[in-house]
């Protein structure tokens, strides 16, 4: 077996590293460091690796292959896919950096690294619909992280397991059903069946409205740090996978109405997420609805692929990851400083007086996710709002309602954080909690970086457009 291949570097090496981490998982600090440094090196390597997969070092020419064989099947990781791999390992690194600070499972570094390797392999499997089984494996591994320590498995975990397991057959059967019908006319019954199966499979995977019911349940029980990592990866890579399916299957992308279906699925998820979020009284559950809204935006972006949706999707990946990081970090940090905060609104009342920077960071991350001008997600969201309005006015009021729901939640949360009720103050009798300087520095730096991305998108965000390069059929112009 040729060891100088991209799948060996970005799939087998992290898998081996996670096996090493199994041995040292009791030494939390060491395992977090190994996971951080390992994923950072893999991210940097993927980012700087030349697309031609050849480079010279010390007068010697190194030529890497993009294919590795396993059980007579190919794992192919092309040069153009390496930017996506870099993003995945960067996310793993970002989430491992602070993993030591929070009471998450001591398996977090091990599992996060193995999950990332598995996600990379979903993009690399030659017969790519087989990735459905790898996604199932990822779900099974991630369940171990999502179940809180010392607690029974709740309905959220069970429903998550069921919905993701049921999705797998739909994807696999669709692949079998449409084998060799690339050139058939679009009215072919098999194509319609295959399309319906793929759409059902992805709806279950991505927890599109109304199949999202397990997500708030899971978010309420799971540590926000773990939840945000698992579902950021889940959402991002499955959206890439959907793009790959559309790119590879001409019969699917040429089917009349397919992109309209995706647009509607996106808009309805966004609307439902916004309305349901506005009614929330639990900040832990809010992240689930934020994920639903962002899934809606991703689907809308794919649906608007001919109107600049691809660019919007690529531009949103990094700012969204940072906003999730900021929200999860702030919430986890608040719950660590003040364990009596259970995430309910009454427990957060007057928090601004105690933890002003954390309170501001919580609101700021919501505003970033809302798409406020001046922050990282604004360029992508503005592109989607304009493109959808340019296509049809049907979407505009629905998107506006979704946004209003999110804005209402932000206002309600701000009101809760700012107002104190002297008679029923939640913090009466507790030791005065305080923010450490390093915590303040972290939340300020992340906020600042988000602002920089918003003000200078051409510097920070434009390189992300390269993420769309592998989709040559879907986006021939990029």
């Amino acid at each position: 077996m040729n060891l100088m291949t991209t799948p060996v570097i970005w799939i087998f090496i992290p898998t081996l590293l996670s096996l090493v981490l199994v041995a040292v998982h009791r030494l939390r600090k060491l395992s977090v460091w190994i996971a951080c440094v390992g994923s950072l090196l893999l991210a940097v390597a993927a980012f700087i690796f030349p697309q031609s997969l050849e480079f010279s070092l010390g007068g010697r020419l190194f030529l890497f292959d993009d294919t590795a064989q396993i059980f007579n099947r190919s794992l192919i990781l092309t040069g153009s896919q390496l930017r996506t791999v870099a993003v995945m390992f960067s996310i793993t690194c970002l989430w491992n950096i602070a993993a030591y600070r929070f009471p998450v499972s001591r398996w977090f570094p091990t599992v996060s690294l193995s999950i990332t390797a598995l996600w990379v392999s979903t993009l690399a499997v030659g017969t790519f619909l087989y990735s459905a089984v790898i996604v199932e494996l990822i779900v099974l591994v991630s369940v171990l992280l999502l179940t809180p320590r010392g607690e029974q498995a709740g309905s959220g975990e069970m429903r998550y397991l069921v919905s993701q397991t049921v999705a797998m057959p739909f994807i696999l059967l669709s692949g079998w059903m449409v084998t060799g019908i690339e050139s058939a006319p679009s009215a072919n019954t098999l194509i319609l069946r295959g399309t319906v199966m793929i759409l059902i499979g992805f709806s279950l995977w991505l927890a599109v409205f109304p199949l999202h019911s397990w997500m708030p349940m899971l978010a309420e029980k799971t540590h926000p740090w773990v939840f945000s990592f698992v579902f950021l990866m889940h959402q991002t890579i499955l959206t890439f996978f959907l793009l790959k399916v559309l790119d590879q299957f001409a019969w699917l992308r040429n089917l009349p109405g397919i992109f309209t279906v995706l647009q509607w699925a996106g808009v309805i998820s966004l609307l439902a997420g916004g309305i349901l979020l506005s009614l929330q009284n639990q900040v832990n559950r809010a992240l689930a609805y934020i994920v639903l809204i962002e899934t809606g935006y991703s689907l809308l972006a794919i649906g608007l692929i001919d109107q600049g949706g691809g660019e919007a999707f690529a531009l949103s990946i990094l700012p969204r990851a940072l906003a999730y990081w900021q929200w999860a970090y702030t919430l986890s940090s608040i719950q660590q400083i003040m364990p009596e905060v259970d995430g309910s609104f009454p427990s957060l009342r007057g928090l601004f007086n105690r933890l002003p920077f954390h309170s501001m960071s919580l609101i700021l991350s919501l505003l970033i996710l809302l798409g406020l001008p001046g922050f990282g997600l604004f360029p992508a969201k503005r592109l989607l709002w304009n493109s959808s309005a340019g296509l049809t006015y049907n979407y505009t009021p629905l998107i506006a309602l979704g946004l209003a729901g999110m804005a209402l939640f932000t206002l309600r949360l701000s009101h809760t954080l700012l107002t104190t009720d002297s008679e029923t103050s939640s913090f009466t009798g507790f030791v005065n909690p305080k923010e450490y300087v390093w915590q303040i520095v972290i939340v300020c730096l992340v906020s600042l970086f988000s602002m920089l991305m918003g003000f200078f998108p051409h510097i920070f965000l434009n390189p992300l457009l390269q993420l769309m390069e592998p989709f040559i059929h879907l986006l021939p112009a990029i």
């Binding site: 396993i70 059980f71 007579n72 099947r73 499997v125 017969t127 087989y130 089984v133 790898i134 199932e136 494996l137 099974l140 591994v141 369940v143 171990l144 179940t147 010392g150 607690e151 029974q152 498995a153 309905s155 975990e157 069970m158 397991l161 069921v162 397991t165 049921v166 797998m168 057959p169 696999l172 059967l173 079998w176 059903m177 069946r193």
Partner: protein
């Protein structure tokens, strides 16, 4: 001979799945699950060599063993000989089980004609039955053991169907990994459940 054996296996397979749906006796359920995999081993030989079919048998039995040992170590195994009165819930689930078997039997010819023309009717009845039993179990029960049994039943039904359509070594390996991981996750849930109950 082969056809008769497979028909008997189909009957036992659906009965085992029905037992898992109807009875709430953990020891019996794990035995029924193991029996299910023995029957799948016999039925799948229609499309797979005995060696490849044995992989599914071994993986299935291992999954069953993992669940059995977990139940044993948590002290949650009820005696098989213990007499229990039939509850109204069991009568309801029994009726549903009969209905599911009937649906599988009636739907299989239609599905074979319209979609899976290369699969035999016997195999389709088996896979459809397992998928329906699995789905019903998953949709109505939240106890970890029954959920995992439901998931394993659903997956084995799908694997049976897929085996008649396509062969891939990678998929066989991945399916084996998924089944074993599912059993481990189930054990993890059962242990957490028993710890929670003990507290």
């Amino acid at each position: 001979m082969g056809e008769t054996l497979r028909t008997i296996a189909l009957v036992i397979l659906l009965l085992s799945a029905a037992i898992n749906l109807v009875r709430r006796q953990w020891g019996l359920n794990v035995i029924a699950l193991a029996l299910q995999y023995v029957c799948i081993f016999l039925i799948i030989q229609e499309v797979r060599s005995p060696l490849l079919a044995a992989i599914k048998l071994i993986v299935g039995l291992m999954a069953g063993l993992v669940l059995y040992l977990t139940l044993l170590s948590s002290g949650m195994i009820e005696s098989l000989l213990k007499q229990r009165r039939v509850t109204s819930g069991e009568i309801f689930r029994g009726t549903i089980a009969l209905l599911l078997i009937l649906i599988s039997y009636l739907l299989a010819p239609e599905i074979q004609r319209d979609v899976f023309t290369q699969s035999s009717q016997l195999l389709l009845i088996a896979s459809l039955g397992l998928i329906l039993f699995g789905l019903f179990q998953m949709g109505t029960i939240t106890e970890p053991l029954y959920l995992v049994i439901g998931l394993l039943t659903f997956l084995s039904g799908f694997e049976l169907l897929y085996a008649s359509l396509e062969f891939s070594r990678v998929l066989e390996v991945l399916f084996a990994a998924v089944n074993l991981s599912l059993a481990l996750v189930g054990s993890y849930f059962i242990v957490k459940d028993s710890e929670g109950s003990a507290e």
